[in-house]
Subunit: 241 residues, 2 copies
DNA sequence: TCCGCGAATTGATTTCGATCAAATCGGCGC
DNA sequence: GCGCCGATTTGATCGAAATCAATTCGCGGA
């Protein structure tokens, strides 16, 4: 694994952050109109191509962001290059680690994405004055903690097939939480990213995709487009129930 | 792995919770004297032997607690009995998952322990009225999230030796955060628990202990008492730097 | 002090996923 | 449509950890 660190190809388009409130959850929902106007003055909308690093591990966090569109992966890396994705964040999640000087992991776009950034100090000041905002952020961190711990079971105790099925199940339910029967979606991650999320190699991920395909649990078109005819069968392959 | 679920051997000794405030962090630090008195009326001090289940996975959470003494392990289990420890909590941590009906994992004492419990509704009411309290809980959840994600790297990408060394390093730094040179401590977990924390088998954990001992990285007395002459060597065995 | 029993260690063998290596796919520019 | 190149799949082999199987250790009770 190499340490490629692509430049940030972004065009900065300042936007009134009120737009976030209208169309996304994010942090904005908890703010008063006055606070939104204030936040808007310092916020910047950015369009990022897949593979852009938003913050590096251990770097100073200058900014926080709302994810408006796309998927961001949070990764931790060992000194020798081994890498683990420790979280996936989807719109309209909040991106950032309040009350820490340094980011505990790097954040990189997995797909093309749009984010709305604002200075760290700005948010931390708002948090101090706005219990509703802190409550909202607390709720998200509890949700992320539940997800992280769920994933620890997957990483520590599931075999390759169960890991890959668990990943597909995660994505399927995320994009289509209602679906009890079939589900259709595009994978937001490359095989390499999936491997880094599951603690496997690319080859093993590929073999398990092939296996699930041959077993009729999934169909795949063009490497990214997945059809799950029966969610419960996938769930069963994932070792859940 | 079997699903043993020991009875709760506890003697309930109602205590004024103000005691927590004096001697522990916990949640009490953020409360006003009046709130403490209120909380005290509904709080109960419990003494628990090692292996006591505090809450079961998926169970209704009737209560929250401060850990006064000892170590509590949070575990998630698969239907077939495979088990993963998803978090270790030490005094004076807060124990519980606010704003959820069901516990996302079971909590069990790893050592003899003392906890101070209070009704869930009581805490959630206090949280709504006390921004300082919510801030404190938010901080703890952020810390736990960082720890969980650190551990995901360990589970997903480290080999057996690095995992065991990482665990020893975690315990060593927890019990003695200052120590740059040597460290001496008693393991709060059995080999079986360590295996469940690291996603390994008991046998593999044992072999790695033996290896680290033969390599002179650690010394062990009576299976539980560990001496680390050189923390940096241990850290190196853990794959950190 | 000796016994009993669960916890931990050690040994032999198997297995699953990693590694090394090659072929094939698929999107994109020309 | 063709060729290129990175992404993905497939194949062969290796190796680390799991599994199966005995011992050995160590603590508590007789």
């Amino acid at each position: 694994m190499d340490m490629q660190r692509k430049d940030i190809h972004s065009s900065e388009i300042p936007v009134v952050c009120r737009a976030c409130e209208a169309r996304h959850g994010g942090v904005c929902g908890a703010l008063s109109p006055e606070q939104l106007v204030e936040l808007s003055k310092h916020s910047t909308r950015k369009r990022l191509v897949a593979g852009t690093e938003v913050v590096g591990q251990g770097e100073d966090m200058g900014a926080f962001a709302n994810i408006m569109r796309g998927v961001v992966k949070l990764t931790r890396m060992m000194p020798d290059g081994r890498q683990q994705i420790v979280g996936l964040q989807f719109a309209p999640d909040f991106l950032g680690r309040p009350f820490a000087e340094e980011s505990p992991h790097s954040a990189e776009t997995a797909t093309d994405a749009e984010i709305c950034t604002f200075p760290r100090q700005m948010l931390e000041r708002l948090v101090g004055r706005t219990p509703d905002l802190e409550h909202k952020l607390y709720q998200q961190s509890l949700k992320e903690l539940d997800e992280a711990r769920d994933w620890m079971l997957t990483l520590g105790r599931k075999n390759a097939q169960e890991k890959v099925a668990s990943f597909l199940f995660l994505i399927a339910t995320h994009y289509d939480p209602e679906t009890v029967d079939g589900s259709v979606f595009d994978l937001p991650l490359s095989r390499a990213d999936i491997a880094d999320f599951l603690g496997l190699t690319i080859e093993t991920v590929s073999r398990q995709f092939t296996r699930l395909r041959k077993d009729g649990v999934i169909q795949i078109e063009n490497n990214r487009h997945v059809i799950v005819p029966d969610i419960e069968r996938l769930q069963h392959s994932a070792g859940i129930d």
